[in-house]
Symmetry: C2
Subunit: 329 residues, 2 copies
Amino acid sequence: MTAPLRRSEFRLIAEVFAPLAADCDLAFHLQDDAAVLRPEPNQDIVVTTDCLVGGVHFLEDGDPALIGRKALRVNLSDLAAMGARATSYVLAVALPPSVDDAWLDAFAAGLQSDRDEFVLPLIGGDVVATSGPLTLTVTAFGVVPAGRALRRNGAQPGDSVYVSGSIGDAALGLKVLDGKLDGLGPQAAAYLTDRYWLPRPRLVLGQRLIDLASAAMDVSDGLVADLGHICETSGVAATLDASRAPLSDAARAALACAPEFDAMVLTGGDDYELVFTVAPRNEATIDALAADLKLTLTRIGETAIGAGVKVVDEAGKPVEVATPGYIHF
Amino acid sequence: MTAPLRRSEFRLIAEVFAPLAADCDLAFHLQDDAAVLRPEPNQDIVVTTDCLVGGVHFLEDGDPALIGRKALRVNLSDLAAMGARATSYVLAVALPPSVDDAWLDAFAAGLQSDRDEFVLPLIGGDVVATSGPLTLTVTAFGVVPAGRALRRNGAQPGDSVYVSGSIGDAALGLKVLDGKLDGLGPQAAAYLTDRYWLPRPRLVLGQRLIDLASAAMDVSDGLVADLGHICETSGVAATLDASRAPLSDAARAALACAPEFDAMVLTGGDDYELVFTVAPRNEATIDALAADLKLTLTRIGETAIGAGVKVVDEAGKPVEVATPGYIHF
């Protein structure tokens, strides 16, 4: 008989997960059947869930701390898109036999560092065994003033389309990890792989966009696809100027090495920036917000009467986009 | 090229899952990044999550409608244990390639029938692909009067221990499905397999136990193990009289066929009954509640100063229990 790779379920909860719930009265030390959420009066609770599967949504041999943080942060990005302040989360983990105690300790350390950064306790969860790949399901909670969550369905024809930060970094980072961007310098390569592994959920931006943006969502599948969701839900068309897409210096260096990845900037997934629409009268407020947050907010297009997303170049000529975003299946 | 087994992700959400969210304003037709929960004033939201893996928590070749309902109901059972009224849920599904459109339609039909039975809309979710077994993570929400959720930690020495309904049926039902209870009549066999597949979350009982039970939890891992959790969290010991364990007629018939499964009644999982403790002065109220709900509530033991669960026979002689409950890993 070999030594078990892992603590028992109950030791695992007590030693690995309960510290992530410490100092949160309503998590009951993870010892009860459920936890409690208690919003302030006149607040709505925003709830989102995302499931990440090893080999599909993250590289299974990745740093366990980053795997944990990514699973959490993609959910925080959804909360950001609704304008919510993140408050807590629950986590269901299906563990393959290969995951051992050291892996779990590193995984929890990643969640602990995000707990500190986002002041975000774990309040419940489930740990089970699977014969398949590591599967992580986070359900995250946030709060917004009642009835004022940002939605996808409010864009009006003639609105300006903005995106935060830079796009394409994560998709190019995955190419680096796959060994398909060999000519790139180490600093740019490290920047891009960090962007793949560690999304920066735009929570502060989302909260500031309440009553300012007419529609918003996070860029997870690809900019063209996700802007397309806003268009479909709002019943508008959009034109996206590819030449205005905000690129990082590292992304520019990567595209200089491998111009064949050019289209991927607009269609690659995993950016976790916010794409949003605003009435033209609010453009100056957006500029001031960008300065205040020290975050680039780039006007990349505009909406119109109609349907669908048209991608154009600087001269207004249509650009062919083969696949607008990540296809799950 | 072969025809795809499944609709695209977006058609799947629109055609299979969105109908489960119909008539729920705060689900936003599953078209937004997140949903909203809006409790009444002076209500707490209770939240629980459970992950079910094919081949571990359910038989993968089972009826898809029952697989869906089981995944939902094990979560409702946790809400029942907290005294909550169930209000909504989110669902994350990791689909192996073998799952096709017909399977998904049947799965959704099962959730739809439970939606009707429990008045319980789906408010959000995620659908992803996996190379592993079908994996379902439900996060369910309920409400309780603020600060009054049932907990595990309130049992006092000298309390009476009760369990609802009958126990052991589901574990024996799994033996039927595994072909290990051959001598049993078809009616008893059907009763037991139904109890395995379709938990009856004791939601009404849970709500009535608020301010009446000193501690409660649902029986998912096995009666001895789960009573042990109450003891540990409350800091008490318990004695459980095995002869008082409430058995269904079908379970009695099964044990007559296969006495070797006798101990399993106390330690088999999947019962989803409630085990709870009450101060002796409340016993008459419990009897009246049982009559009112037309649900058997059986006094199976009592708590004492100390730690751990002691199982005894009618004469008070200790009964050996090898494994108190299901070991996840």
